[in-house]
């Protein structure tokens, strides 16, 4: 129940501030523009398959947008509270670190889910002109949701390490970007190294979802990635106690 109370408080903060609406507007503006251009591409030369010709590109574009925007949601979670001194106040209540972490994580996940959920209007529009199979879209959105959870957990951890929102945001970008480009430069690493790196790439893990398939190993990886960073966040908060930083 404490987790839900903290999540409710965070949600009220998100939905009560103009920042959320500004970020959601930017997200939807860009996602809408990408959708329009991707649809134009599909109509002109996309072939016969909606999942391969349209949804794949749209989901990959949304994934890139989320990489840019999610750190802006997560950077304030602990860093802002610590800077304003409200975190110390929170710690005076009988709540455990794990409950605070989970409450903030769930609230942020709900906020980004609402934002991503607004893009469902695109397939609904396409369905007005052409039959749309729900399966590939379901796989794509499940993948996006898991990816968002991983992004948020990563951002939460880095926000717990610093008092500066800017540092937290920039570090989250850096880390997520690292997990994106880890397999990009095929020419810079040998085949054996590439083979070892590929399983760690968040974006290679997302690719099958974008094509319309759900692999249990990718689901497991994204869930474990999230669990790992949430646990790191717990360690980071816990360490401040014995480091005398609280």
């Amino acid at each position: 129940m404490t987790v839900l109370a903290i999540a409710r408080k965070e949600l009220a903060l998100y939905f009560g501030s103009f920042l959320f609406y500004a970020l959601a507007t930017v997200f939807l503006l860009l996602a809408g523009y990408f959708f329009y251009t991707n649809l134009g591409f599909f109509v002109l030369m996309g072939g016969m398959s909606l999942p391969r010709g349209l949804w794949q590109y749209q989901l990959l574009d949304v994934q890139r947008l989320l990489l840019v925007l999610t750190p802006l949601f997560t950077m304030r979670l602990f860093a802002e509270e610590r800077k304003l001194g409200t975190l110390e106040l929170l710690w005076t209540y009988p709540v455990r670190d794990a409950e605070i972490i989970l409450g903030k994580f769930l609230a942020c996940l709900a906020v980004v889910t609402v934002m991503v959920g607004a893009t469902v209007v695109y397939p609904v529009m396409v369905a007005a002109f052409y039959p749309v199979a729900a399966g590939p879209l379901l796989a794509g959105y499940v993948g996006l949701w898991l990816l968002v959870a991983a992004f948020i957990a990563c951002g939460l951890f880095l926000s717990a390490l610093t008092d500066s929102q800017l540092v937290a945001g920039a570090a989250t970008y850096g880390l997520l970007l690292f997990f994106w480009v880890i397999t990009w430069n095929e020419a810079a690493v040998n085949e054996v190294t590439l083979h070892l790196l590929v399983p760690f790439s968040l974006f290679d893990r997302f690719y099958p979802f974008a094509l319309g398939a759900i692999d249990t190993r990718d689901v497991t990886y994204l869930v474990l990635f999230t669990v790992a960073f949430l646990t790191f966040t717990f360690f980071a908060l816990d360490s401040r106690r014995w480091r005398g930083l609280r």
């Binding site: 939905f15 009560g16 501030s17 103009f18 609406y21 500004a22 959601a24 507007t25 930017v26 939807l28 503006l29 996602a31 809408g32 523009y33 329009y36 649809l39 134009g40 599909f42 109509v43 002109l44 030369m45 996309g46 072939g47 016969m48 398959s49 909606l50 999942p51 391969r52 607004a118 209007v121 695109y122 529009m125 002109f129 199979a133 590939p136 796989a139 095929e186 020419a187 085949e191 590439l194 590929v198 399983p199 690719y207 099958p208 094509l211 319309g212 398939a213 759900i214 692999d215 249990t216 497991t220 990886y221 474990l224 669990v227 790992a228 646990t231 360690f235 360490s239 014995w242 480091r243």
Partner: protein, 460 residues
């Protein structure tokens, strides 16, 4: 004292992190080993076809696939190869950027992007590394060794791989991927060439001479395989040839007005009744689940059992079909009628037969024959309609004695870039999409944000 406490705490934290990573790593390892794919695309386009799975089951020794890709395309091959390996762990693969490893490519006989060198038991085959059927075909070639000869008869207006809609270009491509080597042969020039796995008679417009049919009969008697794809046309000699085996070739035209298929001219026969458990229309492991469309069909049925021949009808049209006695009337689009001697009801359109006696002491295999009362269904225009491809390739596989190849193949959803997609938007519809996705939806969210901000300011 303070220092030792800090060291102890840091050590403890390091241990906790290490244990966490170890535990998560082990969990992920288990997940990688027990991966299961849920393919949610229509037609299961991201899963290996049952046929490929069956083929991969034939790999009993280590098989190595080395793919040479163009930079930036690695993932598409890695994904496909990982799916192959997941089915059979004896399949090992490596991927190389051809620009970085041209020498390695040359040593394996690869000089172009997107090619795979498949090595098995000292044999090496170079094929396209995707799509799935090309790579699977390469593995089949590596398993078998040399390709099998497949003869298409000529001289009677038969169809060939010309690239026109009525041609058999796509069927020939699929057969090449399954390690057949097609060639054109006129039976007027002599008997069927030696080591021929199958003879295909693809939609003759003119009749065969008795001499040519004698060559076919001799080939069948020697254990050969013949596939007859016979459109409605007067072929009295061919009809007599089939009659000698107890098979009746109807001089008629099968139409099905009630089950008219979109995109056809209304003369097509729909085949939904398949004999259970036979290797052509109902392979045990992977039955054809959808019907077959025969765009211009004639009846082929078993008239009587002839000694030394085991013939059976294996596919029939739906009961709403009519066999029209005069094909010219059918082509003119006239309505079928019993007064005009047309026959209503389900009609047999595919017959399979085995010739010779099992264990006759000669050691020869039995001859195999499949006669289909239509050639259009396997042409480029109709091959990928419903179960047509599976019926055509299953028939060829059975006739050629390749029982491992009977089964459902990948659904050939056209993936080529085409000038127009099936989704067409008018200028007005496109403007509506733009307005909704780029202006209205973000605008509503922004408006809501302004209201929230205004309220907060108003409330102080």
């Amino acid at each position: 004292m303070l220092l030792s406490r800090a060291v102890r705490s840091w050590s403890q934290l390091s241990l906790q992190v290490a244990f966490l990573l170890l535990a998560l790593g082990l969990l992920q390892l288990v997940a990688e080993r027990t991966n299961r794919r849920f393919d949610l695309t229509p037609g299961r386009g991201l899963s290996l076809s049952p046929l490929t799975r069956k083929l991969l089951g034939q790999v009993t020794l280590p098989l190595k696939v080395t793919v040479f890709f163009r930079r930036g395309t690695r993932e598409q091959y890695a994904d496909l190869l990982a799916r192959f390996r997941a089915v059979n762990q004896r399949i090992d693969f490596e991927l190389y950027d051809l620009d970085r490893f041209p020498e390695r490519g040359r040593s394996l006989g690869v000089t172009q992007y997107g090619r795979a060198a498949i090595e098995y038991e000292g044999r090496r085959v170079v094929v396209l590394a995707s799509p799935e059927e090309q790579l699977a075909g390469g593995i089949l070639r590596a398993l078998r060794g040399k390709p099998r000869r497949m003869v298409f008869t000529t001289g009677h207006g038969e169809r060939g791989p010309s690239g026109k809609p009525e041609s058999f270009g796509r069927l020939v491509n699929a057969l090449e991927a399954e390690n057949y080597s097609p060639e054109d042969v006129s039976l007027l020039d002599g008997p069927v060439p030696p080591e021929t796995a199958i003879v295909v008679v693809a939609g003759p417009k003119r009749d065969f001479l008795p001499l040519e049919l004698d060559a076919l009969a001799a080939y069948l008697k020697a254990g050969g395989g013949v596939l007859l794809l016979l459109d409605p046309a007067p072929l009295p000699n061919v009809a007599r040839f089939l009659g000698s085996m107890g098979v009746r070739l109807g001089d008629d035209f099968v139409v099905d007005r009630e089950r008219r298929i979109l995109g056809t001219d209304g003369l097509a026969a729909v085949v939904e009744l398949f004999k259970r458990g036979n290797p052509v229309s109902d392979p045990a492991a992977n039955p054809i689940e959808s019907g077959v469309v025969l765009p211009s069909a004639r009846t082929v049925d078993v008239l009587a059992q002839v000694p030394g021949v085991e013939a059976e009808s294996i596919a029939r049209t739906t009961p709403s079909a009519w066999a029209m006695a005069d094909p010219a009337r059918a082509r003119r689009g006239e309505e079928p009628s019993q007064a005009q001697h047309d026959t209503p009801g389900s009609a047999s359109v595919v017959v399979m037969a085995e010739l010779g006696v099992v264990g006759d002491g000669t050691g020869r295999p039995r001859g195999r024959l499949v006669a289909v009362g239509d050639a259009d269904f396997a042409s480029d225009a109709y091959l990928d309609l419903l179960g047509n491809r599976d019926l055509a390739l299953n028939a060829i596989a059975w006739v050629a004695g390749e029982d491992v190849l009977t089964g459902v193949r990948t659904k050939k959803v056209p993936e080529v870039m085409r000038p127009l997609s099936p989704l067409v938007l008018t200028e007005r519809q496109a403007r509506a999409v733009f307005a909704t996705s780029v202006l209205i939806e973000p605008g509503l969210v922004l408006g809501l944000g302004l209201v929230v901000a205004g309220l907060r300011r108003y409330r102080g």
